[in-house]
Symmetry: C2
Subunit: 582 residues, 2 copies
């Protein structure tokens, strides 16, 4: 080793030891008679000291030549500091340097290697290896490591076997777009990269593996929205001989284990909510339950008073923004503008101010008497000081819009603390989802999800009403995982494929192996997959997943550090029998 200790290791109890350290020059302070250098490695920072008169002159001179981010090896004697620094673990000591070796010089980095850097996004991505030196980024990846460790600890203890499934698989038209890999040996044929190991983990259940998991890279060639990556990581799990209840308990256990062992937080047991209820109470299938502000429906109370908007509305529904009654006209106008943005798409917003003096003022005073408005405030359990924000229209759309407003108000009222965590199971999702563009139903999760047995009879008459044995784990308003009980018999699977518009031939070509497997003794089974990047970012209290991925791609799917995708040689194209159209 080029060192006897790390830069985070030395304490007062090491005083007078002769040690060797190695690391990067973080910072130099030159007071003329004394030169201090902060030496940094992954483990911490140790202060080096050179003293004019006491240290050999050449040594001090050499210390002065060291620039930021130089890599050096230093020998010296551990000494108690005069002015201690209680912000760092090594703050009681410094190293009186006796020898120094420059292991590698460094050009001035294009941005400062500090917690708050002056580097913009693009520059930091291009020099990602320098960005990774910054504490917050390194700590995010250390958190990720710990999350993976603890995930494995939990699942190993529960008798899960980690099995690697293949990366070079087969393209399937269902779901998102596949990345494909041309075969050099079989011209005109392609492998595809997996969007998930779904069919393989089901086959492992058919094989009797009983409990499978994998922390695995998956791939999706989609137009990237902000904070989406073409390659992403899942905690992928499957169990056999279980009911939905067993899966919910097992993976609630995982999430609680992670909170306890990674964050030191005892998460209470995870409540469960049906999809229909989540939509009704929060207008979202992934409600942020860190705060209340639940939807209150007042449709009946608003009818017959000639207010055209409410009169024609299928649903009139609102939230109570407690303590906001004294919002100014400007503030309320901003909320109205927010819901009218195309991303939200509402036509307008009705407000009722239950003033601190007990009076009620609203934007619909013309249509409703103070008594009628009083009935509203009563239904909302509002108190003087509260502000009701009300929207109206078609049920599903209005709920979605009010959900956006609720989240905005949660932000404004400081109710979405990133260091507070609230988890929720959302269950009983619809099996099918109408696709307006394709004019047919798609599987909401995927075509292997089992319908609730009692709903199968609705498949022909009311497909949209069929519920699935499917569940999502939601934390702080983000879906971090989802899964289902699978179909495990050929007849049901074949029926599902036909309902999803697969011809028999297509189904056989794409999933023939799975349907055949179901005929050789497939056990009842189900599973779940967690989005590992997102889960890490939530544990890290961050909005973006990017700093929880060592080498992420930008929003155009490009790695600007290594500059890929890029052209390949004509020889490579020829071997693959491919022609590219420009």
């Amino acid at each position: 080793m080029l060192r006897t200790h790390t830069c985070g290791e030395l304490r007062l109890s090491d005083a007078n030891k002769h040690v060797t350290l190695a690391g990067w020059v973080q910072r130099t302070r030159d007071k003329g008679s004394v030169l201090w250098i902060d030496l940094r490695d992954r483990y911490g920072i140790t202060q080096l000291i050179f003293e004019e008169g006491k240290s050999p002159a050449e040594l001090v001179a050499k210390g002065r030549t060291l620039g930021r981010e130089f890599v050096v090896q230093v020998e010296g004697v551990v000494t108690e500091r005069l002015s201690k620094n209680d912000k760092i673990a090594t703050g009681d000591i410094e190293l009186k340097v006796t020898a120094i070796t420059v292991l590698n010089a460094a050009k001035l980095p294009p941005f400062t290697i500090e917690d708050d850097t002056d580097g913009g996004d693009e520059l930091r991505m291009k020099y990602r290896y320098l960005d990774l030196r910054r504490n917050p980024v390194r700590e995010s990846l250390q958190l990720r490591h710990k999350m993976a460790q603890q995930t494995r600890t939990y699942l190993d203890a529960q008798n899960f076997i980690e099995v690697e499934t293949p990366v070079l698989i087969k393209s399937t038209p269902e779901g998102a777009r596949d990345f494909v890999v041309p075969s050099r040996v079989h011209h005109g044929e392609f492998y595809a990269l997996p969007q998930s190991p779904q069919t393989f983990k089901q086959l492992l259940m058919v094989s009797g593996f009983d409990r499978y998991y994998q922390i695995v890279k998956c791939f999706r060639d989609e137009d990237l929205r902000a904070d989406r990556q073409p390659e992403f990581t899942q905690i992928d799990c499957e169990m056999a001989f279980i009911t939905q209840e067993d899966i919910l308990n097992m993976f609630e256990g995982l999430v609680r284990h992670l909170f306890k062992n990674v964050k030191g937080i005892e998460l209470p047991s995870v409540p469960r909510m049906k999809y229909d209820e989540a939509m009704q109470r929060y207008g979202s299938d992934k409600p942020d339950t860190r705060f209340g502000m639940e939807f209150v429906e007042i449709t009946e109370l608003t009818k017959g008073k000639n207010f055209p908007v409410f009169e024609s509305a299928e649903l009139v529904v609102g939230i109570n923004a407690t303590g906001c009654s004294e919002y100014t006209r400007k503030q309320i106008d901003e909320l109205t503008e927010f819901v009218k943005r195309p991303q939200v798409g509402a036509k307008g917003l009705v407000y009722v101010q239950y003033r601190t003096d007990g009076t009620i003022k609203s934007s619909v005073d013309k249509f409703y008497t103070p008594e009628e408005l009083g009935a509203w405030t009563a239904k909302f359990n509002a108190k003087p000081g509260d502000l009701l924000l009300i929207m109206a229209g078609e049920t599903f759309t209005t709920r979605k819009q009010l959900n956006e407003l609720r989240l905005l108000m949660g932000d404004k009222l400081g109710l979405r603390d990133k260091q507070k965590f609230s988890a929720l199971w959302v269950m009983d999702f619809p099996l099918l989802e109408w696709n307006e563009e394709a004019k047919r139903y798609h599987a909401m999760h995927h075509p292997f999800t089992s319908p609730k047995p009692e709903d199968i009879k609705l498949l022909d008459t009311a497909p949209g009403d069929v519920r699935a044995n499917a569940y999502d784990m939601v934390i702080n308003g983000t879906e971090v995982g989802g899964g289902s009980i699978r179909i495990h018999d050929r007849a049901t699977q074949q029926m599902m494929f036909s309902h999803l518009g697969f011809s028999e031939e297509e189904a056989k070509k794409q999933f023939g192996f799975l349907m055949e497997a179901f005929e050789f003794g497939a056990p009842p089974h189900g599973g779940i997959a967690f989005g590992f990047d997102r889960l890490c970012s939530i544990f890290g209290g961050a909005d973006s997943i990017r700093d929880f991925i060592a080498f992420p791609k930008n929003n155009a799917g490009r790695d600007v550090m290594i500059d890929t995708p890029s052209t390949i040689s004509d020889e490579q194209l020829k071997e693959l029998a491919l022609i590219t159209k420009k």
Copy 2:
């Protein structure tokens, strides 16, 4: 759960318990008055019993309808067996069945689900999910899981951080062929799948991650030799601020930890051997050290006696096949045929039989006196009963050929026991390797390997003599891992690229980001990668890696179960702006 216990769990102490099991019908024995069924799951086998007269008639009848591999749930009472089976953990008990539910019927499997199956390779690959039900295959994958677990346990304890590196990277012409992935967004551009995370792990060292590891999928689009897979898994590691000595100690520690914790074997400390010495003593850079039979050079003893073959030979070298002096003429002819096969390519074989009666007989009696041959046997330390097998010719070639013969004799003499393990470090490899086809030197490991500082001066005059700071871990004659101390400064790296025939422009296009990174403070670093599939197969005592991979591809790179690679839709090709030539 659809069960209260697994099929491997019940013991005599559970007698009289009412339990529920679920699993597959392994086997049925029907004695008329009694029906036994072996029920199997991942955890073991439990015997079910139905008794005519005692059990309800419908139940017995139902039991009789169950075919092989049916999936059933059974309830029953745990009972002591009359005739116990000490071969299985549950052999003291059986389950008196009180109720049975068929969870899924099964067609007759295309081969028997037994330890020794009647299924051929191709059939087993097509129905891999059935093959995976067989004990030996499932146990191989359980071993792999344990290997991964223990690898992580060791490296985590040594402060390594597991970091995921990207799968969609950039194609580089050096090394084997890349698989490429066409970009839909950037037409005419491609990602490539990594042959290893080499450059990324080096960048992580530049970032100060200090100790990195990853158990990671890698990809190589090569013409598949037997037992090679297009996708394979590495234990990939890198350390900063270390010397070669530190790496050897750290990863010898890993291998010994694995032997201890996976196999219960205390491996002695791993000996080290220089490449030159390995070639001289064994004719191989990956000698099988489970047995001796080392090379003995007798060039000097053979000269001046007018035997043309030895007279013209650069090297005369042999092995002592102890106890083989009484080999028949036919046996010796077979050995001669073996070395003359094109795969070995020798011109012939000289033998000296040191007969049990003390006489010496050889194929070169015409040229050498018994006294002269006696000097040979003395040099070989041969005893009556031994057989010397001697080859001659150009040094490197002759050693390679004799190595093949040595391994064959090791097999014949039972010296290559798959349950015995012998590990070895081979060190000081040549840096460069002459490529006859390209008429230039290639990097023997990869272009980032550092030359030994004292040899750098030879780079211009005798490139083939330059040694590298490179090392391989060899177990039982198989290279299971290899690594090197890396170049960590731009000047040396640039010089290496130029010696390897990269133009400055090419080097910049392919590895500009790495060379630039070396200018921003790169620490001294080095690492190693283990072939995980191969390591598992050696621990499992198997010749092939195939059963240590859940879903392997065949020798044509095809997954015959899911039938990939396969064609993709015209729409997909259009989106990728690709035309395939047929």
